[in-house]
Symmetry: C2
Subunit: 286 residues, 2 copies
């Protein structure tokens, strides 16, 4: 890898490419007489869930894709939720389903999401999708790890490179590890218990930081060759910031992605990429 | 970690502990009026499959556990296999099912194994078990990664330690990575495309080698602090050898597991540990 300083790499050019790709796919589907549509189920009034819910509806209307909002009351019973979901699952006009999380405490998100067939689970949250991803089989994958891979691919990071992933959750670190392996990278999965995280990060070609702690990653964890992909989204004094101290490291590393305007700005669009992928899988399964 | 040279650590004491644990569990199940039983389905005449098939039958008879052999002809159709399997799945007296792999070319192992309910899939091969493992939920896990974890646990390797895993298959490296994360270790998943595998191994606290290449790991990849867990099983001139050049490294590292008499000697027993685990899951699901 050459030692060129790329500095801060915003998502805008990437986003334009992804959007063009999706628009082309939507148009191809329409040529086949199919109209992509997703259902977004929202139960109760969690404010974070509200934010992402609205972002998806907005993105859908921009792309001309039907996003059917299914809202249920905070006190909906498990049976009521399941009956409603079963109707949606059976609807042949709906190609992808999202359950906004978190759901109210008396409901079991995992249980609900695992009743969606894998090829309609566009959040990639079901056990079957996770197992398929792990097996390198056709699957749907959560949008955040996909967004990281869009960066990895656009930066032309050589196969075999080491990628320190600071996150071991089921929505980010674990599926990302599988995508990295499926694409011939060498993941190092770090977390709060990792003993020598500074050295591991410093020696890695890429650092994906999703510690959920503002200011977590600074100069002590990077080298001149580091590419830092910041997945953190933290609210500090009413401002959204990432996990990296970007002002401190931006001139010390090869490249760093900004927050906002980096990984997070790709995810709501990539959900629609998953929707098109889901339509293709459903066609193949016929 | 102290710098004590432990040298070659055979599986015998470990195996005795595991066996005692299983015998106790079997006896507990019998006290509840239950008699553990597994079905092992073997289709066709693959010689490797024959070897493992017989090893499990033998181990079952030693432990006093019923192992029902279900053999089908090489030319069995997918429908015939599925019908036979469906009967076994429905049998309430059978608590665990294994499909010996490889199956004949005209059959799809993944498809067959994914029709077994997760709580009877004691090889941990179904998507649901893999997804559950990844999610840190109750699951059944393949015997080889479990055997590695038995070593990790018996050697009291501190949490947070780095573990270089040289394998990214769905039966060894990938589930092992999940077990390591679930137990607070830091996995570094290496494979044929990894660029700096020597340095990564040398700097890791533990090296799990499953490259499937005799003599793959030697002095250039280890340090005085290394603990080497050799998962390789290779036949060289009629002799079974591991992936590590054990004579070369045994006095240079902290510890190394032998082949034969190491990881591989635990697996056929751990299948029975999974069988007991499966019975407990089935009880909870009632």
């Amino acid at each position: 890898m050459e030692l060129i300083h790329i500095a801060v790499i915003g998502a805008k050019p990437l986003l334009e490419g992804i959007r063009a790709r999706i628009e082309k796919s939507i148009s191809d589907q329409r040529d086949k007489g199919k109209s992509p549509a997703m259902a977004i189920m929202r139960i109760g009034k969690d404010p974070a869930s509200e934010f992402y819910f609205r972002a998806k509806l907005k993105k859908g209307s921009e792309l001309g894709v039907e996003t059917r909002a299914i809202t249920m009351e905070e006190d909906a019973t498990p049976q009521e939720v399941q009956e409603r979901l079963d109707q949606v699952v059976k609807d042949p006009m709906i190609h992808g389903i999202i359950i906004e999380s978190p759901v109210p405490h008396h409901l079991d998100y995992k249980k609900i999401v695992n009743t969606i067939p894998w090829h309609k689970d566009i959040d990639g949250a079901s056990y079957e999708n996770l197992g398929r991803l792990m097996s390198g089989m056709p699957s749907l994958v959560a949008a955040t790890p996909l967004a990281v891979m869009e960066y990895v691919s656009s930066l032309e990071i050589p196969q075999g490179s080491t990628v320190a992933v600071i996150n071991r959750t089921i929505t980010v670190g674990r599926p990302l590890t599988q995508l990295l392996l499926n694409n011939n990278y060498t993941p190092i999965v770090c977390h709060s218990r990792t003993r020598n995280i500074r050295e591991l990060c410093k020696a890695s070609d890429v650092i994906v930081v999703a510690a959920g702690k503002p200011g977590f990653l600074g100069q002590e964890m990077v080298s001149r060759d580091s590419i830092v992909i910041d997945v953190g989204i933290n609210s500090v004094n009413g401002k959204i910031v990432g996990d990296a101290r970007i002002d401190e490291i931006k001139d010390l590393v090869k490249a760093v992605t900004p927050v906002p305007g980096g990984v997070g700005s790709l995810t709501s669009t990539l959900i629609f990429s998953n929707l098109i992928q889901a339509m293709d899988y459903q066609e193949e399964l016929k």
